[in-house]
């Protein structure tokens, strides 16, 4: 199994520089909300949720994540029935729904 690095406060700060303070969340109720889709799989909580607004923001997030080896799970409206949107390795949830 691939080992991913955890999201540290330094990385949170760099993410905040990319998407702004309103574009990211680490609140426990959000982590719970974004931990599952409509499948019957047990939930997997992410470490941070980011809401990018443009393609260049997404590109910067992916560059950061690949540099530090952090897992990224893209999510839309989480209506999938087979667990495809579950962030099973934690890490960053890339929410394209806002």
């Amino acid at each position: 199994m691939t080992k991913f690095s955890p999201v540290t406060s330094d990385i949170l700060q760099q993410l905040e520089e990319i998407v702004g303070s309103k574009g990211l969340s680490t609140l426990s109720q959000d982590l719970e909300k974004y931990s599952k889709d409509e499948s019957l799989e047990p939930p997997h909580a992410p470490e941070v949720i980011v809401h990018p607004k443009t393609t260049s923001e997404i590109s910067a997030i992916m560059k950061l994540a690949s540099t530090y080896n952090i897992s990224v799970t893209p999510q839309g409206s989480r209506t999938g029935l087979s667990g495809g949107a579950h962030p099973i390795y934690g890490g960053i949830v890339l929410s394209l729904n806002s």
Partner: protein, 97 residues
């Protein structure tokens, strides 16, 4: 990431962001007398997820699946590189069917 950027009635193409909901695209196209046929049953699903899973659904039996209606994509790779694949016109779409 939830905007319909353009509905091009001459080329019969729409440019959308990945967070656009299927029901919103259906509503916007039907207002113009056009049809986006893929309807995987989850009207609250978003276009990005439909494309990533090549969603089919009941109407896929008659009209085809999501892949048949995608002419181009702007894609971000895991390295952060941005690719522009295909476009509005049929002859500009290597890699998409």
């Amino acid at each position: 990431m939830t905007r319909i950027l353009e509905i091009d009635e001459d080329n019969l193409m729409a440019i959308v962001e990945p967070g656009v909901l299927i029901m919103d695209l259906h509503k916007a196209t039907e207002e113009k007398g056009l049809l986006y046929p893929p309807d995987p049953g989850q009207e609250s699903g978003s276009l990005g997820g439909n494309i990533s899973t090549n969603a089919g659904g009941v109407k896929g039996m008659k009209y085809g699946v999501t892949r048949d209606f995608v002419q181009g994509l702007e894609v971000v790779l895991s390295s952060g590189e941005v690719l522009n694949l295909g476009g509005k016109h049929v002859r500009t779409q290597p890699g998409t069917s």
